[in-house]
């Protein structure tokens, strides 16, 4: 609850106790592996056993006991090997030690077992010691065969164009001028900080070693590892930036270990080039601020105790704690970072929940949110199921639906070809859903409110609503059902001047080619297109093996919401009775209902309050159809006389007959 998350605990059979630390209970049958998740902020200092042990010491109130390090004397002179660092920006510190007369062989069983338990393969005692030292100290280390070095000199430099390396695992990489390498006078020996090469590898014949303990630029390591496609324990640590001071600890631990597992004589004089340590930082923390941010009253003494347990130096002046941050805590930069240290070590469970005090302003109502909710609830109550489809559209879908690829947002790194573009409308997803659901239902009604994306200067992300009815039985009646729902919905939203226009310009015909050319219309508010409605073109439906027909209406939510009217306008009900007359018009199929109704409307005048179509009958062979209407007449001022209405009816019939239609 204070430091890191232990992902799991693994029990493993006993190891032989490691020199010099003996297991407290020599008879214990097992040991434990802690799999700990170290997050990026602590990947500087805690990706190593010592770093974790330091945390545990702070938590249990114990004292960290460091393992034995070899006694190093750092020099600027060579001790059998010379090193030149050509790029100090990319390699801030480079330490090289020499060990002679080393006996390379199998690692002792305790070392082998530990490495394998921790997920690494055992190679030989030298390589294993280097890997183990990395796991313990957090410092990546590398060993070269000294005698395989051409010219007894190591150069830390950028690779030359065309240089190659074959690594220890027999992979060959082409290097670029951006990659940092370790080379001798002839060959590239290692991809610095990432992987060693075969040329100078330590094998059973190796007698003398060069041990490398260095600090490489995190970004450079990251870029090289990415571009070459390699990820190693070493590259991971360098990418997260490790303290400069680790170089010495790592090397000291390794040299000590080598003495124990590989004979040989490590030389005390160690070459050390570059900066030895980060500048030590002092950060001030005010007890009042820490208390205020956490919500718990903390005294300066309590805070000091906590920080000291983490090896922070504390000097109080005028009530403010000036904290000397250990060089390995590269994550501590400011006061808030210290507050986190205080809070987490103290334990967040000690902070009692307390409601904040705030002004009682009701939150602002978002108009779009309000109307979207109304629309969703309305549609759900009318039998529509809400869908959430994917925001993506596949490569082949773009072709099938006839989307102009210039207007599609393409992903740089799609998961796969199904996710190549962002959807420009909600219809492909709706069709996919219809196809699958028609396997289990004879008819479905769905809606989706979602964002669609069009590559254009403005308004490239739009919220749209797609209503759909899909049915196994192909019937044009479904179009009218969908249209009915749309019209009812507009009515519920207080939008009264919606009309349907099937006059498509050439560009529009092309754009909406995915709709059946004889069964589609634009939905308009005055001259503004707010949506489209139609049957999915059978060509496309067949392409997706849709077993039935699909009718969709897609609307631009912003336009609908702008037009929506919350308040109803009250009109007083007329106290005078209505007069209802029926009329039947027989007209050719291509005479539009809207035209017929318009003629009736105009001829009927102000007293004609409503024209309600109650019957519609196609007379197949004749190519005609009859439409029957209730005509409702009413006045607000008087009871209408029969003769008045008769006159109006005559006028209406006259106007209709002018078109050659039969009236009944």
């Amino acid at each position: 609850m204070h430091s890191f998350e232990v992902e799991n605990l693994e029990e493993i059979p006993i190891f032989k106790p490691q020199i010099p630390n003996k297991s407290k209970n020599p008879n214990s049958k097992s040991d434990w592996i802690f799999n700990i998740d170290i997050l990026p902020n602590r990947a500087h200092d805690a990706v190593g056993h010592i770093g974790v042990a330091r945390e545990v010491a702070a938590l249990v109130g114990g004292k960290l006991k460091l393992p034995k390090f070899f006694n190093i004397r750092t020099t600027k002179q060579a001790g059998g090997v010379d090193v030149e660092v050509k790029d100090a920006q990319l390699c801030t510190r480079y330490m090289a030690a020499v060990a002679r007369d080393v006996g390379v062989g199998d690692s002792p069983s305790w070392l082998r077992e530990r490495l394998e338990a921790l997920g690494l393969n055992s190679i030989n005692n030298v390589v294993d010691a280097a890997n183990y030292a990395m796991l313990v100290t957090g410092q990546p280390l590398h060993a070269f065969d000294l005698d395989k070095l051409q010219g007894k000199k190591l150069v830390v430099r950028k690779a030359k164009k065309g240089e190659k390396i074959t690594t220890l695992d027999d992979e060959t990489y082409n290097l670029s001028a951006k990659d940092l390498v370790i080379a001798d006078s002839k060959n590239v020996l290692a991809i610095a900080g990432i992987k060693g090469g075969k040329i100078a590898e330590v094998d059973k014949n190796t007698k003398n070693l060069v041990l490398e303990s260095a600090n490489f630029n995190a970004l450079s390591i990251r870029n090289t590892a990415r571009s070459l496609g390699i990820a190693t324990d070493a590259s991971y640590r360098f990418e997260h930036e490790i303290p400069l001071s680790f170089a010495e600890d790592g090397l000291g631990y390794l040299m000590q270990l080598l003495q124990e597992v590989a004979e040989g004589k490590p030389q005390k004089q160690v070459l050390d080039i570059g900066r030895k340590t980060q500048r030590s930082v002092v950060v001030a923390v005010r007890p009042a601020y820490a208390s205020s941010l956490l919500g718990e009253k903390l005294t300066a003494q309590k805070i000091e105790r906590i920080l000291k347990s983490l090896e922070f130096g504390v000097h109080t002046k005028a009530g403010v704690l000036h904290v000397k941050v250990p060089v390995f805590r590269m994550d501590i930069e400011r006061e808030e970072d210290l507050v986190e240290e205080i809070g987490r070590i103290r334990g967040y469970e000690n902070i009692k929940p307390e409601m904040p005090v705030a002004a009682l302003y009701p939150p602002k109502r978002d108009i779009k949110n309000y109307w979207t909710r109304q629309i969703k609830k309305y549609l759900a109550s009318r039998g529509f199921n809400e869908l959430y489809n994917y925001s993506f559209v596949a490569e082949d879908a773009a072709d099938i639906w006839g989307f102009n690829k210039n207007n599609l947002w393409e992903l740089e790194n799609p998961l796969n070809l199904d996710f190549k573009y962002l959807r420009p409308n909600l219809i492909p997803g709706t069709l996919q859903a219809a196809r699958e659901n028609l396997k289990n239902f004879t008819e479905i009604q769905t809606f989706e409110v979602g964002e669609v994306f069009i590559k254009q200067e403005t308004n490239n992300e739009q919220t749209r609503l797609c209503l759909a009815i899909a049915a196994k039985a192909a019937s044009a009646e479904k179009f009218y059902e969908l249209k009915g729902y749309a019209e009812s919905m507009f009515n519920a939203l207080g939008i009264s001047d919606i009309w349907f226009d099937d006059a498509f310009g050439e560009a529009e015909k092309e754009h909406y080619s995915y709709l059946h050319p004889a069964r589609r219309a634009q939905i308009k508010l005055a001259d503004d297109i707010v949506g489209i409605i139609g049957q999915i073109n059978p060509r496309i439906a067949d392409n997706y093996d849709l077993r039935g027909s699909l009718f969709v209406a897609e609307l631009e939510m912003d336009k609908i919401i702008n037009a929506a009217e919350k308040e109803n306008i009250y009109t007083p009900v007329s106290q005078y009775p209505q007069v209802v007359r029926d009329i039947s018009v027989l007209a050719p199929t291509n005479a539009k209902t809207s035209v017929v109704m318009e003629i009736i409307d105009i001829a009927g005048g102000e007293l004609l309050r409503d024209v309600d179509m109650f019957d519609y009958y196609e007379q197949e062979p004749a190519g005609e159809r009859s439409m029957a209407f209730h005509l409702i007449f009413q006045s607000d001022e008087r009871t209408l006389k029969s003769e008045e209405v008769d006159k109006l009816m005559q006028k209406i019939i006259q106007e209709l007959e002018k078109n050659g239609w039969e009236i009944k």
Binding site: M1, H2, S3, E5, P40, N41, A43, L219, R222, S292, L293, L294, G295, R334, E336, V339, E340, R344, Y348, E349, I351, K352, P353, E354, M355, P356, A358, P363, K364, D366, K376, K377, L379, A380, S381, R382, G383, N385, E386, L387, Y388, N389, S391, E410, L411, E412, N413, P414, L415, F419, L422, G429, A433, E436, N440, I444, T446, E451, N460, E461
Partner: protein, 342 residues
């Protein structure tokens, strides 16, 4: 002159045979109608002497009353009989299924989002929205996640072409909060629900697109204790049971301190069960105190401003609430699944 009791008996007999109201009406007309027997007798009264008129008149009146009563009773009886017959004929099998209206449904994620908006709304949090296509600056840099920083590895990102434009699909709804802060002065109390995207292979618990709700409260003295109280209250409301929180230290670049927040296991109320792997706690969300760099990016002076921020995965929350085991169900559009949520 007709005999009164004779008329009465005759009428009685005829009435007995009547089986419908219609027949009763006919008999009534026969005796009491305009051309009826009694009416005719009453007309004969004018030819009688004063003394006889009186006697006969009284006699006829008595008869009239008796007849009226008889007819009323007969009508009532027949009406009753009519009702009884109808009631029997009208029997219906009430166990036959009713004619159901077609029922639609809101998506379960919509239900969760609306519920959270309402709960937080009732606590004064305004719901805000923002674009799904975001700039690198709003999604990362402004949130204290610099380029080439290992922290970026925490967010697998979908980038848009051309890469040089630095446009991406937002990996969280934090950019929405930043945009809001740029346009509003503290105190701030907002939630930002929305669709987010991660470049991740899909499986039962991971999707390339999912929903998050982020919350932000900024004022001069907002602290961790306030966060604990607010979130426990909101979640208790959501799960309709008492929820406690447990904070564990964690790292997100845009908060400091940062925590993972666990809640009391809703299946066992913290006692320990398979759902919570016997720990009594469920991992739910990340949170923390807003990093001063983020407040600065928002255009505020971070001095004297403190705030908490949190982010909850809505899919995860919904899966917990309804015991759904596969996140991909939310986007598969299978009505057999969606139908279950009205």
């Amino acid at each position: 002159m007709a005999d009164v009791s004779g008329i009465k008996n005759k009428a009685e007999n005829e009435l007995k045979k009547a089986s419908t109201l219609h027949e009763v009406d006919a008999i009534w007309r026969k005796y009491l109608g305009r051309k009826g027997v009694l009416t005719a007798e009453l007309r004969k009264l004018k030819d009688l002497s004063v003394a006889n008129k009186k006697t006969r008149g009284a006699e006829l009146n008595k008869l009239k009353k008796a007849l009226e009563q008889m007819f009323d009773e007969s009508r009532v009886q027949l009406q009753e009989k009519k009702y009884e017959q109808a009631l029997q004929k009208d029997w219906i099998d009430i166990t036959r299924p009713g004619k159901r209206a077609i029922e639609g449904s809101l998506h379960p994620l919509t239900k969760t989002i609306y519920e959270l908006e309402d709960i937080f709304g009732s606590m004064g949090f305004e719901a805000v929205a923002g674009p799904q296509i975001e700039t690198e600056w709003y999604n990362f840099d402004a949130l204290n996640i610099p380029p080439n920083h290992p922290a970026r590895d925490l967010f697998d990102t979908f980038w848009l072409k051309p890469r040089s434009k630095n446009l991406l699909l937002r990996t969280h709804t934090s950019p929405v909060q930043l945009r809001y802060m740029q346009n509003n002065q503290p105190p701030i109390r907002i939630i930002a629900p929305g669709r987010v995207f991660r470049h991740e292979a899909t499986d039962a618990s991971h999707e390339a697109q999912f929903y998050q709700i982020e919350g932000l409260m900024v004022d001069d003295k907002i602290n961790v204790a306030n966060f604990r109280a607010v979130i426990a209250e909101a979640l208790s409301n959501f799960f309709k049971k008492d929820i406690s929180t447990r904070l564990r230290p964690s790292y997100f670049p845009f908060v400091e301190p940062g925590f993972e927040v666990d809640i009391t296991c809703i299946a066992c109320s913290g006692k320990g069960c398979p759902v919570c792997s016997k720990t009594g706690w469920l991992e739910l969300m990340g949170a923390g105190m807003v990093h001063p760099n983020v407040l600065e990016a928002a255009g505020y002076n971070p001095k004297n401003l403190q705030g908490f921020a949190f982010g909850i995965g809505i899919d995860r929350l919904t899966m917990m609430k309804y015991k759904i085991d596969d996140i991909r169900l939310f986007y598969a559009s299978d009505l057999r699944f969606l139908n279950q949520f009205r």
